[in-house]
Amino acid sequence: MPVIEDDHPASLLEVRGLTKSFGPARALTGVDLDVRAGEVHCVLGQNGAGKSTLIKTLSGAHHPDAGEIRWQGEPVRIGSPVAALELGIATMYQELDVVDGLTIAENIYLGHEIAHGGVLNQREAHRATRELMDRLGHPSLKPNREVGTLSPANKQIVSMARALSHDIKLMIMDEPSAVLDSGEVDNLFRIVGELTEAGIAVIYISHRLEEIERIGDRITVLKDGASPASNLSVQQTPTRELIALMTGRRIEQVFPPRATVPTDAPVLLEVSDLSLRGVFHDIKFSVRAGEILGIAGLVGSGRSEILETIAGHRKATSGTVTVEGESLTPGSVQRAVGAGMGLSPEERKSQGLLLEEPIFKNATLSTFSRFARGPLLNEPAERRATEEQMKVLHLRPAEPNRITRTLSGGNQQKVMLARWLIHGTKVLLLDEPTRGVDVGARVEIYGLIRELAARGTAIVVVSSEIDEVIGLSDKVVVVADGRVLDERPATQIDEHGVLDLVMKGSAA
C-alpha cells in the first residue's frame, strides 16, 4: 500500500480484527480498516455484509466483542454515541434521525442546545444554523422551518448540519445518496469535498460504484462480516475486481435481455390525457401484456405522482385510466386493485409494508379475504400461497413467519412483488423497485421483473436512476414538468438522450 506521509499524516482511525456477534449470528468476523485525515474512505458491501454493524460500532451504538479501535494512535473504547461525538466522530444514518415536529435549528442543536443558564438563545442558534446552511449550499432552508415539511433530501441536509455543528474529525455517511437525485448528489459531493479540504475524514457507505469512483480515495470491501480487502486505492482498483470481491462472482450482465412483444398482444393498461392539477398534464401511454414501460424523469417531474394517480392513490382531475378496457374510478384504490392493478410504492417501509408483521401477512395483504372462509381467516392457506411465491421469487430463507422488518431491502421488495403475484395482478406499477437494494440483489430483481412481464403482466417502472429505467424497459416515456416529452423504444435512447430532452423540454 503506497503511503504518502506528506499529504496524509498518521492514520486518524485504525480498526483491527473487529468482531461482533448477536447471539448465534456473527455480524462482524474480523474487519480491518484505516482512515486518514482528509480522505474519503468508501466501505462497499452487499446488504448483510456487516456495514451497518461496523458503522454502529464506530459510532458507539454497539460494543465490539473483540478487536481494536485506535483513534489518533491511541486505543479507545467508544462506549456510547456521545463518547463518539466527544472524540469527533459524527454519523449520518441512512434512516434519517431527525425529529419531524421540531424546527431545523432545534434539530441541529438537539442535545447540545445553545443556552445560557438553561435559557435557550434562539437568536444565536438561528444565526449558527443559517451559517451551517450557507456552508451546505442550502441557504433557502430557514432555521425556523419545521423539519416534518422537508423532503428526505433536505432532511438529510439537516442531519448533516447537525453533524457539522459538533467539532468533528470523522464523518460517517451511511448511503447518503439513496434519497437524492443527481443534482442533489452533486451538491453532496461538493460538501464532501469541502469537508475533506478542511481535514475532516469521511467514511462513505454506498452501493453505487460510480459514486465511489467519483469521490472515493480508498476502499474497504466487506463481505460476510469480514474485510477481504482493506484500504485499496480507488484509482488502481478496477470495478470488475470490486464487484468480484463484494459478491464472490462476476456480474456478466446487469439487465436481462429484452423480449419482443408481439404487436397483437392485448393492451392491458391505457392511460389517456390523465391530469392532476398543478402536478402533471395530459399524460398518455399504453402498455401491452408482456411489456415493460419505463418513465424517465428527474425528481419533481411528476413521475411518482403519475404512478400514484394511475393506481387511484391520488384522484386525477381529468383523464382516464383503463385496465383491459375497463375504466377505473379516479381516486379509488379499491377499484384499481379489483381490476387487477398493483402498486409497489416508492417508500416501501412507510407506504407498503407492515414491518412488524410476518412475511405472509404482508404477502396476502391484498388477498387475505380471498383465502378466508367467510369472515374466518385461513392462515395455513395464506402461508402456503406465500411459500409458493417465495420459491418463485427466490426469497430465502423460505420462512413465511419471519418478521418483515428483519429482511434486507431486496427481500422486502420481493415481498411486495409476492403480494401482487398472489393477487394475480395484470398491471404492475413499480416505483423505485431497487431503492435500498444492494448490487447483487438488484440484478435478481431486474430478472424477476422481466420474468413477470414474460408471463403476460404489463409493467410500468419509475426510477430516479435513468440508467435503470432504460436498461429494464422496452419502451421509455420521458417526462419533465409534468408533461410527456417523448416516447420511444428503449433501444433508441440512452441516459444522455433523456437528459438532453429534459433540458430542452424545460427550456421550451
Binding site: 448477536f22 447471539g23 455480524a27 451497518s52 384504490v333 386493485v337 410476518p358 395483504l365 419471519r402
Partner: protein
C-alpha cells in the same frame, strides 16, 4: 421504546443476508395465545404479586372463592369496555367517549318509554342500550374517517356531548329500573357465577376470536400497523374505521346494561372516567398505543390487575385515595416490566 426496537431491527437487518440460512425469527404467536402470553409475563407476575399481597394481608377473606367472584364481577363492566377499546387502539385510534356513552346508554335503556311497566318486554332495554352505543360509535367513526378529525378530538367532543345528552334525557334524575324481567334475568347465576361475569367472558372470547381469526381482525391490525400500506393493498380503511368505533360503542352499550343490572338505576353520571380505566387496562395489557399490535388476553389481565388491586385495598380498609396512587404506580411498573420482557424477547428471538 421505539428507539430501542429500531436499533434491534437495524442489527437484525445488518446480520441478515439474502442467501444464508439464519436462526428462525418467527412470530411465536401464530396461534395467538403464546405470543400474547409471552408479552404478558410482566403482567402475570404483577398480578401474582398482588394476589400474594392480598393473601398476606387479608388471608382467607381474600383467597376465598366468593372474593374471587367479587373481583371478577368488579372487572366485568370495565372489561367489556376495554375489549372494545382494544380494537380501536390496535388500529391506531383512541375512543375517549366510552364512559359518557355508557352513561347515555344506561339512561336511554332505563327510560320509562322503553322499559314500560314492571312487566314490559325487557330485551328492548338491552337493545336500546347497545343501539345507543352503536349510534354514538357510528358518529365518532364518521367524524374521524370522513370528517378527518383526529380521533382524540372527535371522541373528546363525544365525551362531553354524550354526557350532556344523558343529563338532558334524564333531567339529572336517577331512573329506577322497575322492570322485573330485566332484574330477574340478570340475577341469574349459571354454575354459581353471576351473569355479568359470563357476559365478560363471552365478550372476551368473541373479541379474541374476532381479532386473531377473522378478516376483520386482520384489517384492524393492518390499519394500525401501516394505514397507507393497507389502503394501497385495497383495504377499505375509512369504512373499517367506522366499524371499529361502532364496535367500541357497542361494547360501551353492553357494559351499560351490565351496570344497569347491578345498580338498578340509569344515571347520567354512570361510567365516569371509565375511558381512562379502559385505556389503562389496554395499554398495561400490552396493546401498542400507536397501533399495529393488540392483545385481548393482555387487556383481560390488565382489567383483572386493577380490580384485584381495588379489592386488596378494600379488604384492608384503605382509602380510595391511597388506591389511586397505587394504581398510578402499577400502570408505570407494569408497562416497564412489559417493555423489559418484550425487548428481551426481541433480542433472543431476533
Amino acid at each position: 421504546m421505539s428507539e430501542q426496537s429500531n436499533s434491534v431491527g437495524g442489527d437484525a437487518e445488518a446480520v441478515a443476508t439474502t442467501t444464508e440460512p439464519i436462526s428462525p425469527r418467527e412470530t411465536k404467536g401464530m396461534r395467538g395465545m403464546p405470543a400474547a402470553f409471552g408479552r404478558s409475563i410482566g403482567l402475570v407476575i404483577a398480578l401474582l404479586v398482588l394476589v400474594a399481597v392480598g393473601w398476606a394481608t387479608a388471608g382467607s377473606n381474600f383467597m376465598s372463592l366468593d372474593n374471587m367472584l367479587v373481583i371478577l364481577r368488579l372487572a366485568s363492566v370495565i372489561g367489556v369496555v376495554a375489549i372494545g377499546m382494544t380494537f380501536v387502539i390496535t388500529a391506531g385510534g383512541i375512543d375517549l367517549s366510552v364512559g359518557s356513552v355508557l352513561g347515555l346508554a344506561s339512561v336511554v335503556a332505563s327510560l320509562g318509554a322503553i322499559q314500560t311497566a314492571s312487566e314490559g318486554f325487557w330485551p328492548l332495554m338491552v337493545f336500546a342500550g347497545i343501539a345507543t352505543g352503536v349510534i354514538a360509535g357510528l358518529m365518532n367513526g364518521m367524524i374521524i374517517a370522513y370528517g378527518k378529525v383526529v380521533a382524540f378530538i372527535a371522541t373528546l367532543a363525544m365525551l362531553v356531548a354524550a354526557r350532556g345528552a344523558a343529563e338532558l334525557i334524564s333531567q339529572r334524575q336517577s331512573q329506577v329500573v322497575v322492570n322485573q324481567g330485566f332484574k330477574s334475568f340478570f340475577r341469574q347465576e349459571p354454575l354459581g357465577i353471576s351473569l355479568v361475569i359470563w357476559i365478560f367472558a363471552i365478550v372476551a372470547i368473541v373479541g379474541w376470536f374476532l381479532l386473531n381469526r377473522t378478516t376483520f381482525g386482520r384489517r384492524t391490525v393492518a390499519i394500525g400497523g401501516n394505514a397507507t400500506a393497507a389502503r394501497l393493498a385495497g383495504v377499505k380503511v375509512k369504512r373499517h374505521t367506522v366499524y371499529l368505533y361502532m364496535l367500541s360503542g357497542a361494547a360501551a352499550g353492553i357494559a351499560a346494561t351490565m351496570l344497569l343490572s347491578r345498580t338498578t338505576a340509569g344515571i347520567s353520571t354512570h361510567g365516569g372516567l371509565y375511558e381512562l380505566d379502559a385505556i389503562a387496562a389496554v395499554v398495561v395489557g400490552g396493546t401498542l398505543l400507536i397501533g399495529g399490535r393488540g392483545t385481548i388476553g393482555g387487556t383481560v389481565l390488565g382489567v383483572l390487575l386493577f380490580s384485584t388491586l381495588t379489592n386488596v385495598f378494600v379488604q384492608n380498609d384503605l382509602s380510595t385515595s391511597v388506591q389511586l396512587v397505587a394504581k398510578g404506580v402499577i400502570i408505570v411498573v407494569a408497562v416497564m416490566l412489559q417493555q423489559r420482557f418484550a425487548s428481551r424477547e426481541g433480542v433472543t428471538s431476533t
